[in-house]
Amino acid sequence: MGILLRQLDLRVTTDSGEFGASIPFSKGLNVFWADNSMGKSTSVQGIIFALGLERMLSPQGVIPLPYVMTQYVEENGAKNHAVLNSDVYLELENNKGEVITIRRTVVGQRDAKLVTVWRGSVLRDGDSSYEGEDFFVRDPGAASRKAGFHRFLAEFMGWELPIVKRSNGDDVLLYLECIFPLLIVEQKRGWGGIQANMPTYFGIRDVNKRAIEFLADLDASGVAHLIQELKFEEERIRQRWVDSLEIAGVYIEGLGGKIVNIPDYPTTDWPTLVRPTIELSVGGKRVLIDSYILELKSEIEKFDTAGIPTAGEAAPANQDELDQQFAQLRSLESTFQEVERELQIERHLNNKLLVRLEALDEDIRKNRDHLKLQNLGSKLGISVADKNCPACHRKLTDILLPDCEVDTPMSVEDNIKFIESQKDAFVAMLANSEKLIEEKALTSSALRRDIVDTKSTIRSLRATLVSDSRVPSVSAIRKQLSKEQLVETLEKANARIDELVETFTGLSRELSQVIAKKNKIRNNSGLTIEDESKLSSLEANYVAQLKEYRLRSVQPTTITISRESYRPIREGFNLGFDLSASDNIRSIWAYLVAFLEISRNHTTHHPGLVIFDEPRQQETSDFSFTGFLKRASNSIDHNQQVILATSEKFVELQRALTGIPHSLHKIDGRVIKRIV
């Protein structure tokens, strides 16, 4: 795991000759000095560009290099030389001692998406006998496909990029652009905060955390991925449960029944003690399916043993029954009408409730808007927002109507609570009304079926009464057949429930496994002992550096590293707002160096390289980098590399560097010069 920069070359061909710069790097602390606005940042931008990381700086991946590499080169104060061709070369070495040289064209004939790699030292040893290999950057697949440069680079660094989740649930590789904000701080936006250059448009969930987990090789990263997986698994189980229930429900409803004792959502407590069953509506009454089947079966059996009566034998009984059936029909019909009317009223009420709820939601929305306006208005010092009259500066009644009965309106906060409590009541009413409608609809369709049944019984009774008295009773046969048919249908429905129970048993078992896995993860908070030891080293290291650099905005000892976000926090809040501009720089430096330093005693994925481009002077007038150099110079003992590009006053820089191991590369005048 590791990488060192050996040399950066910038080459520009203009209409009047060759320009360029060569910047060598060695192990340990490298200080690259050039005066203000002479091209110091061009070098860091050149490194970012050569590594194909420009999307760290902007989603469009605009070439992050200044005009000197893209348009014209100034010489003797005039913009006189148009750029015809320009390239960036970067020579790297990994910890196996393998050396590669990268070339990427900025302007010229070659596609800027191509990166040529030579497996050897082209710049330092000047050996050009190696054969170049082309890779692509920026197109989809640059991190995953074989010809992708980032895949090559990751392999060269000994990295196996982890798979992470996007917010839409897709799996993607954690792109290099997401990891390097912890290794390179660029001048323009890099000092805005820790990981300020993190690209968010890849849509990777918790990308800041994922990057830190990878760099510090926290086991938690695997855990996080597992948690995501489990969430998706749980959702899948839930969906199957709900779907199966709905399909079975529709079928049972067609029979005028409903499934009872069945949970709407997955549960691990399955099968429940009370077995799910079907409740039917028979003649306006509720009966459970099993007892109804038994009843039907005993009726059928009674009939079988008695044998089929002839029409003549059945006549007296039939006459009585016909009367009974007529009476039943009348009563069924009137009940049906009543139920239908009630249903209509209930539906009407339901609609009104829905309208009312919509209005309440609208009311809540407007009141919430008002709360936000109070906030915004106060920021701008708008007196109405603080309930003061802008004309007379007295307290303003919070109501626009003159002469109205309302003297004291509620505060907006109370008003929201008030409407919400109203809404709660209406939601409860709506739920109740929906239940009523469901029940009444069920009764109504059962009654309709009973009416049809009664009518056909009447028809067959009549047919029997007028038929030859010696033939078998039609009504008796019809009754018998329809009962047998009904039993068959109901038994099928019962079989459906058995199937459902079986499906749910499987799902419930799967759910138990998911929950067991989740609990196991939760019990150790996602962090392993090794993770915890890395994070406490990181914390101690970071806080020690802050003390050393004399952080002033807050007491360094009150700062900890969050075990949630892995970022510095103070009293539970992200550090950042509390810090002055110069303390913010101290914090970023300390945080990134802390990762570098803990990698000396822990296994991490840190490549042992950190690059800082000093912020522009006007942003941090009271700030000096020289205090940091001593700490950074230790990197040489660990085969690591810290690169700082600075325009610090040279005399002061020299003083700070006295007695500490370093390599200084000083450029007088412009960085990019004519090559003679």
Binding site: L396, D398, I399
Partner: protein
């Protein structure tokens, strides 16, 4: 008086004022902010008082917004747009002018001040504030012409 009635009435009592629930659009800040938003969605941050009056009526309710945009798109006639005189309108107008958010440029033309523009930008940058109202104002912007104002006011006050 006997029994319960006596117990209830024969006891000390006092009247206490309880704050009343109020629609948000009757609060000064909501309305003044709505005016600022309406002006910011008008050409050059300015509009006539008559246009403000009509939009003020519409923006208070979802139904109003729906009706006005249907009228502007020629889907309903002006007879169906029942613009009412709104006593709150003038009060809110006064408050906004005194607040220095917009000013009367003469000829009954109102224009946002610098502070008004700043406030409008703040409101616009809040993604979940005035969501429906912003959508509505954006949708009617290209359709709202002087002739519509004349037509609506003729119907309203005939």
């Amino acid at each position: 008086m006997t029994g319960i009635t006596k117990d209830v009435l024969d006891a000390p009592f006092c009247f206490r004022e309880t704050p009343a629930s109020l629609p948000a659009d009757l609060r000064p800040l909501w309305r003044v902010s709505a005016f600022v938003l309406i002006l910011s969605f008008s050409r050059a941050n300015r509009a006539s008082i008559r246009k403000l009056q009509i939009t003020n009526w519409a923006i208070r309710t979802e139904n109003g917004m729906r009706t006005l945009s249907s009228f502007l798109k020629g889907q309903v006639s002006s007879e169906e747009v029942l613009i009412r005189f709104d006593p709150a309108f003038l009060i809110a107008l006064d408050l906004g002018i005194h607040e220095g958010l917009f000013e009367n440029k003469g000829g009954n033309i109102l224009e946002l001040t610098k502070a008004g523009i700043q406030f409008a930008q703040l409101i616009s940058s809040e993604s979940d504030c005035f969501v429906k109202e912003k959508e509505f104002l954006k949708a009617i912007k290209p359709y709202f012409l002087e002739k519509h104002i004349a037509e609506l006011l003729k119907t309203a006050f005939k």
